[in-house]
């Protein structure tokens, strides 16, 4: 279990680099990183489903100018990992297969906003690198620009890695316990919400294409 948590958060850290710091070749979108994490943990199909649902929900998230959007990648990584790792430990009847997934989805959703606020803090701190180079370049230390770049990339990776490690670790420990306390009515409601989830995603996609 620990090896799986570590490797999933390592991949999560690498994928979160792609959100803005390196590349932006969109391996960080939920539709790609869901199946990727699912495949890594041995359940490609679950990863594909969760990835597609999250992609539809976050499809309208765009970073325009200086605005930093909520981070869909970290939600997709933690959500897929938690579902694949803990779904089997929770005892579910045949009628409630979607309830647990929906509960995990609802509880990992706020991580996007939390991660965004950490991201904003890091980007404020990055201004120190600019001031450092303002001093170093007139002195003739031109190699500093490359060092600063790689160091900052490493910090971005570290942020994603540690954040997903903490989120997944806490989730693996608490979620099954929390879920077993839920009453029957909530379980039925969550299951029904899970079946209606594509409607929410498709409606958000519809609004995205209509509004632009």
């Amino acid at each position: 279990m620990i090896a799986e948590i570590l490797s999933a958060s390592f991949i999560g850290g690498l994928l979160s680099l792609d959100v803005s710091a390196w590349g932006q070749i969109m391996v960080s979108r939920p539709i790609v990183c869901g199946p990727l994490i699912g495949f890594l943990l041995g359940d490609l199909k679950t990863g594909l489903i969760i990835g597609a649902l999250l992609e539809l929900i976050w499809i309208n998230v765009i970073s325009v100018g200086a605005a930093i959007p909520p981070d869909a990648t970290i939600v997709a990584v933690t959500c897929t990992t938690l579902i694949v790792l803990t779904e089997r430990t929770v005892q579910l009847g045949n009628n409630f297969q979607g309830s647990y997934r929906m509960a995990v989805l609802a509880l990992t959703m706020p991580l996007a906003e939390i991660f965004r606020s950490i991201d904003v803090e890091q980007r404020k701190l990055n201004a120190h690198f600019v001031h450092y180079l303002d001093r170093e370049i007139p002195k003739g230390n031109l190699g500093a620009i490359e060092k600063v770049n790689y160091f900052s990339l490493f910090l971005f990776f570290l942020k994603g890695f540690l954040f997903s490690l903490i989120a997944i670790g806490a989730g693996v420990y608490f979620l099954p316990k929390l879920f077993s306390c839920l009453p029957y009515g909530i379980l039925a409601g969550l299951n029904f919400a899970y079946r209606l989830l594509p409607a929410l995603g498709l409606a958000i996609a519809f609004n995205t294409f209509r509004g632009l």
């Binding site: 979108r29 499809i59 970073s63 209606l196």
Partner: protein, 261 residues
């Protein structure tokens, strides 16, 4: 006038492999993104090998590095066109032609804004949602047949990155060749058409996916709930509610429904 007399194939310092080097480094554009001057350090990082080649003397090289510490922000893919343009202007300056440092700054500021607008509406607003939606609709349609497949994410990555890498490579090359004329060239390409056609096809795809789900072997009431929920979210669009809040709204309604019925 001197630009026209100047033979484009002679008197060059930057060669093709340097331009490819710019392309490879351009992925790091936002590595030190900061709220103070945004992409300035990334831009300097990309240009560094070219500046090193153009200015062998240490003093001039330091001056050129200092120039690019200024504020810079644009769309990360279209930034490559500016990288090409600035590389060309720096080269002309190193060759002793009439290019002033302020001119380079002006080009960076003004064209950065223009490219930012085009890039945001093309890539973030149209192309990425469209290709991602295509992959999601594939998952929805074929989920029952597939036990797990790489096809949807691969289709998304191939389609999306085709336009992405095209923009990056062509940006550096055309920017270097044609300088500020690239804006005019951009308007002649298929980019503007891509925006509205992907919106239109996207709307069609969403409706198609809704049809596919409604035709599944569900009970009639479930189909009704599905359609009602889809339509109510579409009409809620006016209030600009965030995705997370809509998700909690869905859970709240379903739990309330489960208790009542």
């Amino acid at each position: 006038m001197c630009i026209i007399i100047f033979d484009p194939m002679s008197n060059r310092i930057i060669n093709k492999s340097d331009l490819y080097r710019l392309f490879w480094r351009s992925f790091c554009l936002q590595a030190v993104w900061n709220f103070e001057r945004m992409q300035n350090l990334g831009f300097l990082y990309i240009l560094a090998p070219v500046l090193n080649k153009l200015y062998p003397e240490k003093e001039k090289r330091i001056q050129s590095y200092k120039r690019h510490l200024e504020f810079f922000n644009t769309h990360p893919y279209f930034a490559n066109a500016l990288v090409g343009i600035v590389a060309r202007l720096e080269e002309e300056m190193a060759l002793g032609k009439e290019v002033k440092p302020e001119q380079i700054s002006t080009v960076k500021m003004s064209m950065g804004g223009a490219f930012g607008g085009i890039g945001d509406s093309l890539f973030w607003g149209a192309w990425r949602p469209f290709t991602a939606l295509l992959a999601c609709v594939l998952v929805i349609i074929y989920l029952r047949e597939w036990e797990g497949t790489w096809l949807p994410p691969l289709i998304f990555l191939f389609l999306y990155n085709f336009l992405h890498f095209y923009t990056r490579i062509k940006g550096v090359m055309k920017g270097y060749e044609r300088k500020t004329e690239v804006v005019g060239l951009l308007m002649k390409t298929r980019y503007p058409r891509t925006i509205w056609s992907s919106h239109l096809i996207g709307l069609g795809l969403v409706l198609f996916a809704v049809m596919v789900i409604l035709l599944r072997d569900w009970r009639a009431m479930e189909r009704l709930y599905f359609l009602a929920f889809f339509l109510s979210i579409v009409f809620l669009n006016r209030w600009r509610i965030s995705s997370a809040k809509l998700l909690y709204l869905l859970i709240g309604i379903s739990c309330a429904g489960a208790y009542i019925f």
